[in-house]
C-alpha cells in the first residue's frame, strides 16, 4: 500500500480573492497542495489535472448527486444524477445537440443569427460592447431556437440563464439573487406548460420536442429540471466563451492575424479559450465512502470542488499553460469535463463560436481591435467571465 496523507489546509486565501483572480491561487495550490482542505468553502479543492480527471472515472465513489439544501431548487437535472439514472435522461436528449443535427438544422440558424447580430454590433458603432451587442443576444437566440421556446424572446432566455447561474454560484446567500432565481424558474415552467402541448401536436427538431416525444418520454419534473439546466449553461457559457476567445485573439495580434487569414483556425481558438479561462471553473462531487485520491485521504461525505480551471493550466500537462496559444500542442483539456457528465452542448458550442461567430466577426469588422488600452474586467471562479469587451474597427 502506498503511503497516504491528510490533505493540507489551504486557509491563506479568501473567496473574494478567488473571485478577483483565481489563477495565482490555483498555481500555488498545484505546487503545494493539489488536493487541499479549503475551510472557506467547507470542502476539498482538486487542482491538478490528474485528480480532476480521475475523479470522473468512478461514479460509485465520487457521486454527482447532492443534497438540496439551497433555499430554492431548480430540481435535479441529469447533471446531479449518477448512472444509470443519468444515462436515461442523457439518452432522452437524443441527437439534438450532436453533429448530424448541427449540420442539418443548427449551422444555418447559427449563421443567420451571427449575421443579424453583426449588423446590430455595426449599428452600435465602434466602442460597442461585444457582450451586450453580440455574444449575449447571439447565444440566447441560438439556444432559444435549439430548445424550441417559440413563445419566448432571446431577452427572456438570456435573463433566465444569467439568474439561474447567479443562483448556482450564490455562495454569499444573497436574498435578491434567490428571488430572481425563483422567478426565472416559474417563468420557465409557465413557458414549458405552453410549449409542451404544442410540440406534442407538432414535433420538430428542438430539444423540448425530443424530451416530450422520445421513445421514453421524460416526466414533467425531469423535463423542467433538464431544460433549466440547459438554459443556465446554454447561454452563459457560449456567451462568455466567445468573449474570452475574442480577447485571447485581440491580445495576441499574431494569432488574430492567423485566424483572419485562416478562418479554419478559429476552432483552435475556441478550444484554447475554454482551456485558458474555463467558463465553468469548478463543479462539485462528493465522496460516498472513505477513499484516497492521488495519495490523499478523503473521508466519507467529503465535498470536492473539481477545479477544472486549474487543471487546464496544470504545467505538468500544458507547457506555459497561463498563456493563450492556439498553436500549442493539442492535448485533451477538461473544460467540458470528462466521463459521463461531459458537456452535452460542446459540439454545438464549437460550431456556434468556432465555425460561425468568430469567423463572421473577423470577416465583418476589418481592423478589429480593443477600444480600450486596459485589460477588460473579469470576475468569478465557479463561473468566470469577462464582463465587457469594447471593440473598435475601421468603420
Amino acid at each position: 500500500m502506498p503511503n497516504t496523507a491528510k490533505a493540507p489546509v489551504a486557509d491563506w486565501f479568501t473567496l473574494d480573492q478567488l473571485h478577483d483572480d483565481p489563477y495565482p491561487i490555483y498555481a500555488r495550490l498545484r505546487r503545494e497542495a493539489p488536493i487541499a482542505w479549503v475551510p472557506a468553502t467547507g470542502g476539498y479543492f482538486l487542482t491538478s489535472y490528474q485528480a480532476c480527471r480521475d475523479v470522473n472515472l468512478d461514479q460509485r465513489i465520487f457521486t454527482a448527486t447532492r443534497d438540496y439544501t439551497r433555499r430554492y431548487s431548480m430540481g435535479a437535472s441529469m447533471l446531479h444524477k449518477d448512472d444509470p439514472e443519468h444515462a436515461v435522461e442523457r439518452k432522452a436528449f437524443g441527437g439534438v445537440l450532436k453533429p448530424n443535427a448541427i449540420n442539418r438544422d443548427w449551422n444555418r440558424i447559427f449563421a443567420e443569427n451571427a449575421r443579424r447580430y453583426l449588423g446590430e454590433l455595426r449599428e452600435a458603432g465602434p466602442g460597442a460592447d461585444l457582450v451586450e451587442h453580440f455574444s449575449g443576444p447571439f447565444a440566447a437566440e441560438c439556444l432559444r431556437e435549439m430548445l424550441g421556446f417559440q413563445n419566448a424572446a432571446h431577452e427572456d432566455v438570456h435573463r433566465w440563464s444569467q439568474t439561474i447561474m447567479d443562483g448556482n454560484s450564490n455562495s454569499d446567500d444573497d436574498e435578491a439573487v434567490w428571488e430572481r432565481y425563483r422567478r426565472s424558474g416559474e417563468e420557465i415552467d409557465a413557458a414549458l406548460d405552453e410549449m409542451i402541448p404544442r410540440l406534442r401536436s407538432n414535433p420538430d427538431g428542438s430539444l423540448i420536442s425530443a424530451l416530450v416525444n422520445g421513445p421514453e418520454p421524460m416526466s414533467l419534473e425531469s423535463v423542467r429540471a433538464n431544460v433549466k439546466m440547459t438554459v443556465g449553461g446554454g447561454v452563459k457559457e457560449p456567451r462568455d466563451t466567445l468573449v474570452i476567445a475574442m480577447w485571447g485573439l485581440l491580445s495576441h495580434p499574431d494569432q488574430l492575424d492567423q485566424v483572419r487569414n485562416d478562418p479554419g483556425a478559429a476552432t483552435l481558438a475556441f478550444d484554447e479559450a475554454v482551456r485558458w479561462v474555463s467558463p465553468i471553473g469548478m463543479y462539485p462531487r462528493k465522496a460516498t465512502r472513505p477513499t484516497t485520491l492521488a495519495g490523499i485521504d478523503l473521508p466519507e461525505g467529503a465535498n470536492l470542488g473539481v477545479v477544472i480551471a486549474s487543471a487546464n493550466r496544470d504545467e505538468t500537462v500544458f507547457a506555459n499553460g497561463e498563456e493563450f496559444d492556439l498553436n500549442r500542442e493539442r492535448k485533451p483539456h477538461l473544460a467540458f469535463a470528462n466521463g459521463a457528465h461531459i458537456c452535452a452542448g460542446q459540439h454545438a458550442a464549437k460550431a456556434m463560436i468556432g465555425r460561425v461567430a468568430l469567423p463572421t466577426l473577423l470577416a465583418g469588422l476589418p481592423g478589429l481591435r480593443p477600444a480600450q488600452d486596459t485589460e477588460p474586467r473579469s470576475g468569478g471562479w465557479i463561473f468566470r467571465r469577462i464582463h465587457e469587451l469594447r471593440l473598435t474597427w475601421d468603420a
Binding site: L57, G95, G339, I342
Partner: protein, 108 residues
C-alpha cells in the same frame, strides 16, 4: 483472461490483460495506455477513443450503430471506411477474448 494489443505508428505495442469484461477504451484508460482518450466515458458523445482494428478481428465485432456512425464522422485522424471503430463500442471478455487495434496519431 482477455488480451488487448494496442499498436502504435512507430511499431511499438502495449498489451493489457483483463479478467473482467471491459471495452477496449475503458481498459486503455484504466491501464494508462497512451493515445486513447475516451473523453465521454463511452457514451458515443465524442470520437476520442478512435482505433483502427487489425485484420482478422473485424468480422468478430458488432455492427456499427447509428450513434457510433455519427461520431466516426468526427475523428481527428482520418476515418478508415473499413477499419475505423470507436473502442468504447468493442467489449472484450464476453465472447471476444483477444483483439489488436492500431492507435491513431491523434484523437483531438
Amino acid at each position: 483472461m482477455a488480451r488487448i494489443v494496442y499498436r502504435y505508428g512507430d511499431g511499438t505495442t502495449r498489451a493489457v490483460e483483463r479478467a473482467t469484461p471491459a471495452s477496449v477504451m475503458r481498459a486503455a484508460v484504466e491501464a494508462g495506455i497512451p493515445g486513447i482518450v475516451g473523453e465521454c466515458g463511452g457514451q458515443t458523445m465524442c470520437a476520442t477513443c478512435h482505433v483502427y482494428v487489425a485484420d482478422g478481428y473485424l468480422d468478430r465485432l458488432p455492427d456499427i450503430g447509428d450513434d457510433e456512425e455519427e461520431m466516426l464522422g468526427c475523428t481527428a485522424s482520418p476515418r478508415d471506411e473499413v477499419r475505423s471503430r470507436l473502442s468504447c463500442q468493442i467489449v472484450v471478455g464476453s465472447g471476444l477474448d483477444e483483439i489488436e487495434v492500431e492507435v491513431p496519431e491523434t484523437q483531438i
